[in-house]
Symmetry: C2
Subunit: 154 residues, 2 copies
Amino acid sequence: MQLQRIGSLITPFETRAQCPRNGRQISPPPLCHAQIDEAFRPGLQGLDGFSHLILLYWMHEATEVALSFIPPFDSTPRGVFATRAPARPNPIALSVVRFDGMEADGRLRVFNLDCINGTVLLDVKPYLATTDSEPEASMGWLAPHATPRARPDR
Amino acid sequence: MQLQRIGSLITPFETRAQCPRNGRQISPPPLCHAQIDEAFRPGLQGLDGFSHLILLYWMHEATEVALSFIPPFDSTPRGVFATRAPARPNPIALSVVRFDGMEADGRLRVFNLDCINGTVLLDVKPYLATTDSEPEASMGWLAPHATPRARPDR
């Protein structure tokens, strides 16, 4: 199971410390780009009309795995699979981003990214409200720490 | 960027032909399991209380990449990044599943899986309605092919 880079993510965040806790914490969110490498651009055909995309990317700075740890805003140890922290066995992150169309040369305009500038992109998927949206989902231990949804960026 | 298995998925679907188009096509959906390998079970602490999870898994039967193709229920070529088809540069699939609690020995009860029995599991993430749910998202070329949401499985 070997991965390959399909492009990279361009964000205003140059260090982990600069990254927001998630892509909806900053309101309004900054414009970011997903730059698709030339060889993979034929795969972009038909993206127009989707308002949201799912991006999978590789958290290259997460070089150590912590299966259980006390999150920064908590006092109880939590398993990594109950968090979105980078220190996972497979450091693949997922962001649901708002898609604002394609610029020239395989460059997608997106909002709501939270990762470091230059992060390696692994996949782009169309977001499907019918299978991916669960607005009533309960959030376990994270409920009191939820990021309120800002309306202006919708 | 090398991946490791963290467990496997137990479903009633033994071949690709038996798999539903997505995990919400069968109503009510069958009970499936995510079986976490023993070494990774400390990562499960704190999953209780989440009603939905995101599972990432490896589509091992997708050995060829098709960057553009005509989908089965369509007549126009679509780029693979505008579909959820398995023939992607990185054959990682994502399912938002309903989580029905943990059985003994690292076995999660889940609904809405659509993959082959024995599929390798790569990651478990908590589903966060605040960042992952976009109920109003528009679905581009897939809109006329949307799977109606059955209410009983919610």
